[in-house]
């Protein structure tokens, strides 16, 4: 289950972040702290958006920053930043949720992506995150649904 992977120390809540670059950096912090990724992975995720545009915005309100395993992934992990005020990208796109994906190899993260996809496809999960100001509130909202 996806929620069991998204433990308290991996989820951060913020009112406002000035730029999408800062949002990706901030969202990545728990993965740097727990040794899942190197700083180089954060730079690679930002470079990807600069090179290809904000295609990491998977759906309205949700971005999934990621780069290649060889860009600095030490072990597979995810982290989440919830920003109350939407963060703008260059081309007409924005996001409130930044779900950082770090995958150790390109083929073995199928289950994880399937779980993320199932989680995000339920609007009530997005709402439970956006209406919370901390992890406990999110769990409460989530249970309430």
């Amino acid at each position: 289950m996806f929620l069991s992977r998204l433990t308290k120390e991996l989820v951060q809540f913020e009112e406002k972040i000035d730029s999408w670059e800062k949002a990706i950096e901030r969202a990545s912090n728990p993965l740097i702290e727990n040794g899942s990724i190197d700083e180089s992975y954060v730079k690679a995720m930002i470079e990807n958006v600069k090179n290809f545009g904000p295609y990491i915005v998977l759906m309205p309100k949700v971005a999934m920053p990621h780069a290649r395993p060889e860009d600095g992934v030490k072990k597979t992990g995810i982290s989440l930043l919830v920003v109350k005020e939407k963060v703008l990208f260059e081309i007409d796109k924005s996001a409130n949720l930044f779900l950082v994906l770090a995958a150790e190899d390109a083929t073995n993260h199928l289950t994880l992506l399937q779980e993320i996809s199932d989680f995000l496809s339920k609007e009530e999960n997005i709402e439970a995150l956006l209406s919370a100001t901390n992890y406990e509130e999110f769990l409460q909202n989530h249970r309430g649904n």
Binding site: G53, I56, L58, M64, A103, L113, S117, S121
Partner: protein
């Protein structure tokens, strides 16, 4: 039928999209298979259709490729509608 889900590096976004496209193909009874690929490789890879976010499809389209634009990669209904419009009615 061969469909390619495309994103910048061919891993996260396109992988997730390909999972949902395959689900949608099955539900629509379309005989096809969707694989994922990075933008640079997809430019020279032959496929019946290419699917991905609007900005990636714009970068891919050389005038000879059939592209399908998807805004919400996890919304099965949107993906089904897009496939229906392009493949079944296209």
């Amino acid at each position: 039928m061969k469909i390619l889900a495309v994103c910048g590096n061919g891993l996260g976004t396109s992988f997730m999209l390909s999972l949902n496209v395959n689900k949608a193909l099955k539900e629509l009874n379309i005989d096809g298979d969707c694989k994922n690929m990075d933008l640079a490789s997809a430019k020279t890879e032959q496929a019946d259709y290419y699917i991905g976010s609007p900005e990636i499809m714009d970068q891919l389209n050389d005038g000879n490729k059939k592209t399908i634009r998807v805004v919400n990669m996890v919304n099965l209904n949107e993906i089904k509608d897009a496939l229906k419009a392009h493949i079944l009615e296209g």
